[in-house]
């Protein structure tokens, strides 16, 4: 029973295991499932093991039981945009009406469904213009302008989930936010970095070493001698170097900020430096890259076990990397091309990685990325990439 459904889920890319499918059948045969609602709840809690797949599950469920359209990627983007538009419409209709060149009072007469259709039609017309993520769409959901407390046609979006049929709930796609492709959030970064630790004994001797205690006691002929040890603490040293200059990194500021915030809490010994595009003779302690220089040469004095994490898009003109005096900043004249300095850093810290916010499939198109990849192991700044990077840094 429902084997199709199982395979539909699998096809959609949800990791469902046969074991859990059998468990689900056990639930069916125990008579625990008496309605489609039960079916929805039970199958989801038994088969799906992460909220990231809830959204996909909802879509497959709606498709299987109601024949709802399986979404095409394009349609999904449009849906999402239309939804964002609707939200900002609810917050402040006038702004949106102005943006669309429509009369607010005219839009006002449309029902929610008509509104969505209308938005979609408008978006389709204008795909050319809005592809770059025109700002008012991107930020539409969080328009800083206060809402006017005005609801067209008295409609509500979302909410009201108690007495809906399962299919309707599924069609709501409540779990969209958790989809895999979402942005890097703090807990995700935290989880990925968790394995990055180096345990060494520190602090007061407050843990009883049972084996040593027994040994010593025996040696003393039965006179008890309790041996204490220090407990293990994480003492990993980490250097984080962030490319914070230039417009090319601007789109990734949020992601990098998240990484940086987390690193600051997580590591006892964290040094953060900044650079622009690539590293020459100095890294900077201050974000303005002006006041507090740190000479790269001095890194040899640091513990070579330090984990060096460089975050940057590694995208620049080839001469910035290869030429002596390649820096676009006049005051950085060193006599050594940046690529030599990078090699020096990679040699000094064997455990170093380069995290690149540019998606991996784009790397081949940029010459400087390829050059740097040959020096530092490069990973994408995503959850997957972070995990691989941590794996690399913890490898013995």
């Amino acid at each position: 029973m429902f084997i199709d459904f199982f395979y539909k889920l699998k096809e959609a890319g949800i990791p469902v295991s046969p074991t859990s499918f059998l468990t689900f059948h056990k639930a069916l045969s125990m008579g625990l499932i008496g309605s489609l609602n039960d079916f929805y709840t039970a199958s989801r809690s038994i088969l799906i093991k992460s909220e990231r797949y809830f959204d996909l599950f909802d879509q497959v469920f709606a498709h299987y039981f109601e024949g709802a359209e399986m979404p095409e990627p394009d349609g999904m983007v449009l849906d999402e945009m239309a939804r964002v538009l609707l939200e900002s419409w609810l917050k402040n209709p006038r702004i949106l009406a102005d943006a669309l060149g429509m009369d607010a009072s005219e839009l006002n007469k449309l029902s929610p469904e008509e509104l969505i259709e209308y938005f979609k039609a408008r978006l389709k017309d204008q795909t050319g213009e809005h592809h770059g993520g025109s700002r008012w769409i991107g930020t539409g959901g969080k328009s800083p302008v206060g809402h006017s407390g005005f609801h067209p046609g008295g409609m509500r979006v979302g909410g009201e989930s108690r007495n809906k049929s399962a299919v309707k709930v599924a069609m709501d796609r409540r779990y969209k936010d958790y989809s895999l492709s979402g942005p890097l959030t703090r807990p995700m970064v935290g989880e990925a970095l968790k394995r990055l630790r180096h345990m060494i004994p520190t602090g007061p001797k407050d843990q009883v070493n049972v084996d040593a205690t027994i040994y010593q006691t025996m040696k003393n002929g039965g006179e008890i001698e309790i041996v204490f040890d220090r407990s293990l603490k994480d003492r990993l040293k980490v250097i984080l170097a962030i490319d914070n200059g230039g417009w090319s990194m601007d789109p990734y500021i949020q992601v990098v900020q998240t990484l940086f915030d987390y690193a600051r809490d997580q590591f006892k010994e964290l040094k953060t430096y900044f650079f622009h595009n690539t590293i020459y003779d100095v890294l900077w302690n201050d974000t303005a890259r002006y006041k507090k220089p740190q000479r790269v040469d001095e890194f040899v004095r640091l513990d070579p076990d330090t984990r060096m994490v460089i975050v940057g898009d590694a995208s620049m003109a080839p001469y910035e990397l290869m030429a002596t005096d390649g820096s676009i900043h006049l005051e950085e004249r060193s006599g050594q091309p940046s690529i030599e300095r990078l090699r020096f850093i990679a040699d000094t810290f064997p455990y170093s990685v380069w995290l690149n916010p540019v998606p991996e499939r784009m790397w081949n198109f940029t010459q400087s990325i390829n050059a740097i990849r040959r020096i530092f192991p490069m990973f994408e700044l995503s959850i997957d990439g972070l995990e691989k990077a941590v794996g690399h840094m913890m490898a013995k």
Binding site: P15, T23, S45, I46, S50, Y178, T185, V208
Partner: protein, 284 residues
């Protein structure tokens, strides 16, 4: 090992508001004898659920608070070598030194296995521990038994406990572990649900106060750039504070006069940001 399970439909406890979906999942997990893994934002009531189940079904609750350095053995049992060493040296206790079992103490999981009646076992924040911990626990939860190595004795669960596991992190636990659990993600309650939750905590709350407080709360939650968004717990404490203040009038909130922001926002940056926004806009 376990007697046939009576399915006692679980439908919420005194202080816990349960949505139907979650109730169904709890009942299914109990019937299938599978641990229920709960994820969700802090403050969505993951831990409270276990308390509520225990209360509703009249079972004792055993809580295992997972710590980052914890080994599974600690959760199962402890062998008190030092006391034994001491007893063997001074022999002034009534324990029999040659009987190792006298020095074995049950940990939380052990307690729930050996209890005289069926218990609810809450394994709280399992993601804090290493993946080893989860992997080791698999067998124990699967077989409902564990070995005490020192005395070569197998402890089997006398009554299969109802197991609730919570996790805060967004990351998945290991696959084999997930395979043995039922999974649910608790979303943050919507305003309607929130009103019901508040009603349960403050049965005779003034309607104006509740409406305004909930309204203001959700709008402040929506503010951008707030890192630690206030959760249910904060809202309840905040309402308690508002109720306690004799000078406070619910109308103030609609005018943008919001006292006790510190109850809602615990990080100083968040607090300053919100206070500034409230000051500037007076629209909250």
């Amino acid at each position: 090992m376990t007697e046939p399970i009576k399915i006692i439909p679980f439908s919420g406890a005194n202080k816990y508001i349960l949505d139907e979906e979650l109730a169904a999942i709890v009942n299914i997990s109990m019937a299938l004898e599978m641990p229920l893994l709960l994820k969700g934002e802090p403050g969505t009531g993951k831990t409270m659920l276990a308390h509520a189940i225990a209360e509703a079904l009249g079972m004792p609750l055993v809580v295992l608070n997972v710590k980052s350095s914890m080994k599974l053995v600690e959760a199962l049992y402890q062998y008190d070598t030092l006391t034994r060493l001491n007893d063997s040296r001074f022999s002034d206790s009534d324990r029999d030194v040659s009987d190792i079992e006298a020095y074995i103490k049950m940990g939380k999981i052990g307690q729930s296995f050996t209890a005289d009646e069926r218990t609810v076992l809450l394994i709280d924040e399992i993601d804090k521990a290493d993946t080893d911990f989860q992997d080791d626990m698999l067998d124990v939860l699967d077989q409902m038994e564990f070995d005490i190595i020192e005395i070569d004795k197998t402890i089997s669960a006398r009554h299969r406990p109802v197991i609730v596991i919570t996790s805060n992190a967004k990351k998945d636990l290991s696959d084999p572990f997930l395979g043995r659990c039922n999974f649910h993600h608790i979303a943050f309650p919507d305003p309607k649900m929130m009103r019901r939750i508040i009603k349960v905590h403050f049965p005779e709350i003034d309607t104006a106060l509740m409406e305004n407080a909930v309204d203001t709360f959700y709008r402040m939650r929506d503010l951008d750039a707030v890192e630690k968004r206030p959760a249910t717990r904060e809202l309840i404490n905040w309402i308690r504070a508002l109720k306690f203040d004799p000078d406070f009038k619910p109308k103030q909130l609609t005018k943008g006069d919001i006292p006790y922001l510190g109850v809602l926002f615990k990080k100083s940056e968040d607090y300053q940001k919100v206070a500034a926004t409230v000051q500037r806009r007076r629209l909250l």
